[in-house]
Symmetry: C2
Subunit: 388 residues, 2 copies
């Protein structure tokens, strides 16, 4: 396979973005991505574009890809919208990588956008809810906080994971997000505050849940053989994987692991020719604190059931053995569904190049991993990046 | 680029399909596709899946790709949903081709599905309408029949295209669809009947408009070098192209041509190394009769403005110089949005292999072209196939 590298990456500020529509948010992210290409680039070099978007709010509910390329000055090029719920833009990224790897084009754009804050909470629940199983779960009231709450209860029961360990994920991610100027919830929280916050779905408190967000992200990739034209600090795609699972959690053998994550990780590790021990840092899909704990296990960072102990031991904090979500994660940075996947890649790109804010720059930044899940793991991607 | 071939293709019957949900319709199409692989295949050979769907009705409004692979027995593999309005599944097909061409996998599935008949006409208009420009057109009442009616009026004014010529497209496509057991509207119509049918948006009558439909389609592709394992009659992807344009028609210099089609065709002809004169037959996006007339011109089958004369001369009818829409087209076969793109490829696959119903088998069937447009040409694809 032809090797592919990331040469530019940018994201909008996440959060309440009533100041901009979806197209303008994407332009904000794209502008930063283009400016980050340090030897400069003409945007007309970009030959294809792939956008992730679930379609929660925003003005253009279909054919969004065409609107997006027009907004960023690339009207005319092939543009694809990919919808795989919360993992939409990492799947869009994989399509972009495959386009460049196939040789049909040399430079491509992958990005994502979502506007969730302009519609009511009830509408957001409806629109997000459609990524859940329609027949057996959604219509009887299982929302995503409910599903992850069940997973947390089972994890606590089976493995002795504690309520405190869940909150430790939140405290850690808010600590990082505080130093990230793009993050939505920039505040440090104490373990006590997290533990005492109102319950959403037992055992998950408000501080176990990521917020709803507006935001966009954009990543420019090219064939590795021409990357030096654009930058001497290209970040190579070492491997990637993707997988699916039943949407319905009722049909699964376990709810304390996401099989799609496990499968995607296997594919990505195999392609990269490395194992979890060689991952220096990661951005994982912490839509809920329990999701991050499960991700440690599913990605092979620790044995099954030991995710709670892993965070308690400090292995995943900044300065720990393998920092996770130095961006603040979905929890503090925010989670505009369609933008999250490529936003994780933006973070890994910055970290590997040593360009994150000093307070949250990861020290061992050689190999970074992104993990992005859709629904309750109905889909998942894992991508591995490094400079080589 | 690694060459890619179609080894199997199938589609559900299009039309009122209250008997099946989206997943079951896709299974119907997939089953036929697998059975069409004449040397046989194990479905577990399929490594990735790409589905087109706009999301008009159906039970699973997000994360549909995961539901689809589960329904067809492939739960676990990477599955992507692509939404580019009416051109969704041809864009999904291009992603699949690029995946195989990149070398990441050898066998992939592209398909599409839509359920439009279970919701009310008003809901269908709302859901289809969201592929139109939101800010300047949709909200002031321009629906797709309205937009294409404007195009037809302008085409008549600028080029002398007649009301009769529009209807000749309908008569021709219904003639073919009558012999297609998968078609929704299996009836021959007379020119008089078409001309006297009720007006939808002047000058477009009811017989100038395609119906709303339920349906699914599926295409199995593989690296050409391994195709002989599955069939001795593989149909090669000779070239493909895709493009975008402004969604808003207000912003265009002309409404009598779709620039996205012109661009996509240029890319496809260049990749295939042939020109329009070498196309033996085609499936084009005749959502409205005027759209087919514009497609003749945009694809280079005839000079600009002469599309009306082209159909009148019989060049595009069965037995003519270059048959167009021998399947019945969207007009008679039906138009389940997300299924249309790959359904066109199903037809070309059958025609090239000489496997269409005798009454509608194209005689010169060497090189077939598909043309699929999204919205009012906000996106478009052109793919070229042949046996070589």
């Amino acid at each position: 396979m032809r090797e592919v590298a990331v040469i530019g990456a940018g994201m909008s500020r996440f959060g309440d973005r009533m100041d901009k529509g979806a197209a303008e948010l994407l332009l904000e992210a794209f502008d930063e991505a283009v400016r980050s290409v340090d030897k400069g680039m003409e945007i007309k070099d970009i030959q294809m574009a792939f956008f992730g978007n679930q379609g929660v709010g925003g003005s253009q509910l279909a054919l969004l890809a065409a609107q997006m390329v027009e907004a960023i000055g690339l009207c005319g090029i092939p543009a694809f919208r990919v919808e795989n719920a919360c993992s939409s833009s990492s799947f869009a990224f994989i399509n972009a990588v495959q386009a460049v790897a196939s040789g049909v084009c040399d430079v491509a754009l992958a990005g994502g956008v979502e506007k969730m804050r302009e519609i009511s909470g009830k509408q957001v629940r409806q629109w997000m809810g459609v990524a859940g199983d329609n027949e057996w779960e959604r219509q009887v009231g299982i929302t995503f906080p409910g599903a992850y709450a069940l997973a947390a209860q089972r994890h606590m029961l089976d493995f002795g994971t504690s309520r405190e360990q869940l909150s430790m994920v939140a405290v850690k991610n808010h600590e990082c997000g505080f130093y990230n100027p793009k993050a939505q919830l920039r505040m440090k929280i104490t373990l006590e505050k997290a533990l005492k916050s109102p319950i959403v779905a037992y055992p998950l408190n408000i501080f176990d849940c990521c917020p709803t967000s507006d935001g966009a992200s954009a990543v420019i990739i090219c064939a590795k053989e021409i990357a030096s034209k654009y930058t001497d600090k290209a970040v190579t795609v070492l491997g990637y994987g993707a997988a699916s699972d039943t949407i319905s959690i009722t049909n699964r053998k376990t709810i304390t692991a996401l099989k799609a994550t496990i499968r995607a990780a296997q594919m990505a590790y195999r392609m990269a020719g490395i194992g979890p021990q060689e991952i220096s840092f990661a951005e994982v899909h912490d839509c809920f604190t329990i999701a991050e704990i499960m991700a440690y296990e599913d990605l092979g960072f620790c044995p099954k059931g030991e995710g709670g102990k892993y965070v308690e031991a400090g292995h995943s904090r900044l300065g720990g053995m393998r920092p996770v979500n130095a961006s603040g994660g979905l929890k503090s940075k925010g989670h505009p569904l369609g933008a999250t996947g490529t936003a994780q890649i933006v973070e890994v790109f910055k970290q590997i190049r040593g360009e994150a804010e000093p307070e949250r720059q990861v020290e061992n930044n050689k190999v970074g991993l992104t993990h992005n899940a859709g629904g309750f793991g109905g889909t998942a991607t894992v991508c591995i990046f490094g400079m080589r």
